[in-house]
Symmetry: C2
Subunit: 150 residues, 2 copies
DNA sequence: TTTACTATTGATAATGATTTTCATTATGCA
DNA sequence: TGCATAATGAAAATCATTATCAATAGTAAA
C-alpha cells in the first residue's frame, strides 16, 4: 500500500517532467487524497475534502490536477450521466466497469474478460485502434427493488 | 418511412396523453426534425436547425422536448464525454452502442448479442434489475491512424 | 361559442460544472 | 543569488442545462 502510493507519486512526477511540469505540494496532496477515497468522487467533492487539510487550496487547482492525473493514467474519469465527472484512482491499472443503481446511486465494480475480448474484436472489425472504453450498466439494486415492492 | 414517422408521432402523443400533456406544433416539429438527422445531435445543434424552420422556437422548448422524447423512448441520450448530451432517434427500438474516433469524432454503431447477454448475467449476479446501459468504445479510426503515421 | 381551466411556450434569469485569466508566488537551474 | 518559467488561487467567464414567469394556446364543460 505504501509501495503503491510511492508508485503513483513516481508515475505522476515522471509524467509531469516529460512535459516540463513540476511536482508541487498541492499536486501531491491531491494525488494522496484521491487515492484514499473509497468511493468515486467529483472534483467538487474532492475540493471540499482537500480544504480540510489545506485551507487555501483553490478550486481551479483541483480541477486542473484531476485532468493531469487522468492524462497520466493515474485517475479514471467516470461519467454516470449526473452532470459532473467522477474520478477513481486507477493505481494498480485494474480496469473495470460499473453497475450503477439508478435509485440510490450505489454501484458495483466488475470486470468481464469475455466482454473485453468482444469489444476488441468489434473495434478491430471496424478498423479502429481501441484506446479505451466506458461501460455503465444502469439498474435497480436489490435494496431499492425491495423498497419499491413495499 | 412515412409509416415509421407516423408511429413515433403516435407513440409520443400517447405518451403525452398518459400524463395529461399535449401534442403541440413545436413538439411535432422537434420530433420530425430529430428523426431527419443522420448524426447524433446535441440539443443546441438541434435548436439551430429548428430555428431555420421556426424562427420563434425557444431554447427551453427544445431542451424540454428532448427530455420528453427520451422518457418516451423515442430518443436516446448519448454521452461521449464531450460535456453535452447527444441525441439519436430510437424509432425502430434498435438498441446499439457506439465506437467513437477520439480524433475526428466519427463513429460507428454496433450491436453485439453476446455482450448484451453477458451484461444481463452480470447484473443478475449482483442482484440488480437491469434497465439500461451505455457502452462507448473509444479509439482511432483507420483514416486518423493513416494521418498520424504520415 | 364562450368560459374557465390547465398546459405550453419563449424570454430571461439562475444554476452548476468547469475553464480561463491574470497578478502573485514558488521552483529549478545557470 | 537571480532569472526564467511554471503553478497557484481568486475571480470572472463560459457552456450546458434548468427554473421562473408572464403571455398564449388548447380543451372540455356549460
Amino acid at each position: 500500500m505504501a509501495a503503491k502510493q510511492k508508485d503513483t507519486y513516481k508515475i505522476f512526477t515522471e509524467f509531469l517532467a516529460e512535459q516540463k511540469q513540476r511536482m508541487t505540494n498541492q499536486r501531491e496532496l491531491i494525488l494522496k487524497t484521491l487515492c484514499k477515497q473509497k468511493k468515486h468522487v467529483t472534483a467538487e467533492q474532492l475540493y471540499e475534502i482537500l480544504k480540510k487539510t489545506d485551507k487555501s487550496i483553490g478550486h481551479a487547482t483541483v480541477y486542473r490536477t484531476m485532468k493531469l492525473l487522468a492524462e497520466a493514467g493515474i485517475a479514471r474519469e467516470l461519467n454516470f450521466g449526473e452532470g459532473s465527472v467522477r474520478y477513481e484512482p486507477d493505481t494498480d491499472n485494474t480496469h473495470h466497469d460499473h453497475l450503477v443503481c439508478v435509485d440510490c446511486g450505489e454501484n458495483v465494480e466488475f470486470f468481464d474478460e469475455e466482454i473485453e475480448k468482444l469489444q476488441n474484436a468489434i473495434a478491430e472489425k471496424h478498423g479502429y485502434k481501441l484506446q479505451d472504453h466506458s461501460m455503465n450498466l444502469y439498474g435497480t439494486c436489490s435494496k431499492c427493488q425491495e423498497k419499491k415492492s413495499n
